[in-house]
Amino acid sequence: MSTPKRIFVKGNEAISRGALAAGMKCFFGYPITPQNDIPEFLSQALPEAGGQFVQAESEVAAANMLMGAAACGIRAMTSSSSPGMSLKQEAISYMAGSEIPGVIVNVSRGGPGLGDIGPSQGDYFQSVKGGGHGDYKLLVLAPGTVQEAYDLTIKAFDLAFKYRNPVLVLADAIIGQMKEPVVPWTPENRDPEEGQDWGLQGAVNRPPRLIKSLFLDDGALAGQNLKLQAKYKAMQAEVDQELFLTEDAELIVVAFGSIGRIAKSTVRKLRAQGKKVGLVRPITLFPFPSDVLLGLAKQGKRFLTIEHNMGQMVEDVRLAIRTVADSAFHAQLPGNLPTPDDFEEPILKALEG
């Protein structure tokens, strides 16, 4: 058992350390700003831990390597940033369709296209609504602090294997590049037989296993889709969010990731001025905390969604509360670094109605 001590690290390093603590055995990456610390750190640390590190020839290749390794029932991961994530979408769809538990990390940056190398939340649609083809869902976890980046990376592996589904950790350049204290911890009581009842091993004294997503026979693809949808429904049990001063709030600010954390500071400041504002910070973007938001809407509260994009999660907020209320929206423009002061005016404006 490891003795907890505080380390002062970037989010990228926290994610890497979390993955190692979770027992990741294989990592496949490719350089792209702002996540290069992840492959650089793991190129040293993973072989030292007895694992395999490969710098792939592209993000496409890395995602497909992840597919192969995870198909063996082994804990494996890849990381990238927005343009590289676009390249991975085919492999992600295959992993979802073949039920392969790969972990993918997106340290998102500004877009569309080459964008910039700073933070943004412009990949919400890509992550939650499916950047790849077909009807599938990933579990999407959005850390708001460097400690959370460590913790949620470990959770990502557990959930991936629990549901035999790919899981996405959605961070951004702020989380990736910011240094904060982290208390590292190692999960205990991991199942040593995890993944061994379905993973590729070489068929000895048993029928061969086939990992596939092609279903051509009559009714087969329909059956597979129903099976996947049932799984995504079961995933609702994993929904997670932070509620901050929501009980007596008149206005609920909804924000995720680093923006959620910055908005929390603004809410705290405005509360000190007597303003009745609160925050809901979704931690799982899929499953989305729709029930929590609807519950608050039924209490007559109003909503302001703040995102570092041109309006993506706000659609899910509106969908959740549509029978009762609507949500205002404030865009922190991609390319412009946010501060707590930036959110004061929009929140006050929304509070006044």
Binding site: K25, C26, F28, Q52, V54, A56, E57, S58, V60, A61, A62, N64, M65, L66, M67, G68, A69, A70, A71, C72, I74, A76, E90, A91, Y94, S98, L200, Q201, G202, A203, V204, P208, R209, L210, I211, K212, S213, L214
Partner: protein, 253 residues
């Protein structure tokens, strides 16, 4: 006293079912050679098959092995992941010319260059079969396909790619050979090459590669016999048979 013995022995790993391949298609022969190689070497129990996209996407129906379907062109990357996760297993890809030499060019080059201890069986029939006969990177000059209806010409489409020579030039490659299965003599040589390729994987000395020249009677608009003849008259002159790299042979000299 005489006793009847069976001359033909099909390996158990080759499943007993009719194939979906067209009459005269060489995929069946290639599948059988792979089945024989891994059986002769005693590798069946530890083999993992990485399928690809093309007519042979259903190879897992004919080889009774743990297997995974991979996206078009990405089999060498998927194989890399599998081998890194399970280094003690025999991991191989089976790919056609569109899959390997077009969309998958980066993946095969880098997998070979890294010297991944895997084996690739590359079936080259100079055309995209499954999708109905489009031009492939290995389509010969003058050959008519649905996307070069006037015949491939150098000025517009470039020259056909000789993959075995390119793979052989990469540092991580232990073995690279081109074979054909258009007559019995070539089939015997092909079997030796495929067996050697898998045997080299057990030695963990790098990447092994066998290109098998094959027919596609349907998309060449030929009878099986005519198509088989074309391998000899048109394909072998451009894609010469033989060994292009063998690191162990070099050491022995």
């Amino acid at each position: 006293m005489t006793q009847e013995i069976r001359v033909t022995n099909y390996p158990e790993v080759l499943t007993d079912r009719p194939t979906h391949y067209c009459p005269g298609c060489h995929h069946g022969t290639a599948h059988r050679l792979v089945a024989e190689a891994i059986t002769d070497l005693g590798l069946v129990d530890k083999s993992i098959l990485i399928g690809s996209i093309g007519c042979s996407v259903f190879i897992y129906n004919y080889l009774s092995l743990d297997a995974i379907e991979s996206p078009h062109g990405r089999a060498p990357a998927v194989a890399t992941g599998v081998k890194r996760a399970r280094p003690d297993k025999i991991v191989f890809t089976y790919q056609g010319d569109g899959d390997l030499a077009s969309i998958g060019m980066a993946e095969i080059m880098h997998c070979a260059n890294r010297g991944e201890n895997i084996t690739t069986i590359f079936v080259n029939n100079t055309v995209y079969g499954m999708t109905g006969g489009q031009m492939a990177p290995t389509t010969l000059v003058g050959q008519k396909t649905t996307t070069c209806p006037g015949g491939r010409c150098r000025e517009n489409e470039g020259m056909p790619i000789r993959m075995t020579e390119i793979i052989a030039s990469l540092g991580g490659v232990a073995y690279a050979e081109r074979v054909a299965v258009n007559n019995v003599k070539n089939i015997m040589k092909a079997k030796k090459a495929v067996t050697k390729a898998f045997e080299y994987q057990t030695r963990e000395i790098g990447f092994s590669f066998v290109e098998i020249l094959a027919t596609c009677p349907t998309n060449w608009h030929m009878t099986p016999l005519q198509a088989n003849k074309r391998v000899e008259t048109e394909m072998i002159p451009y894609f010469p048979l033989g060994n292009f790299k063998d690191v162990l042979a070099k050491e022995e000299k």
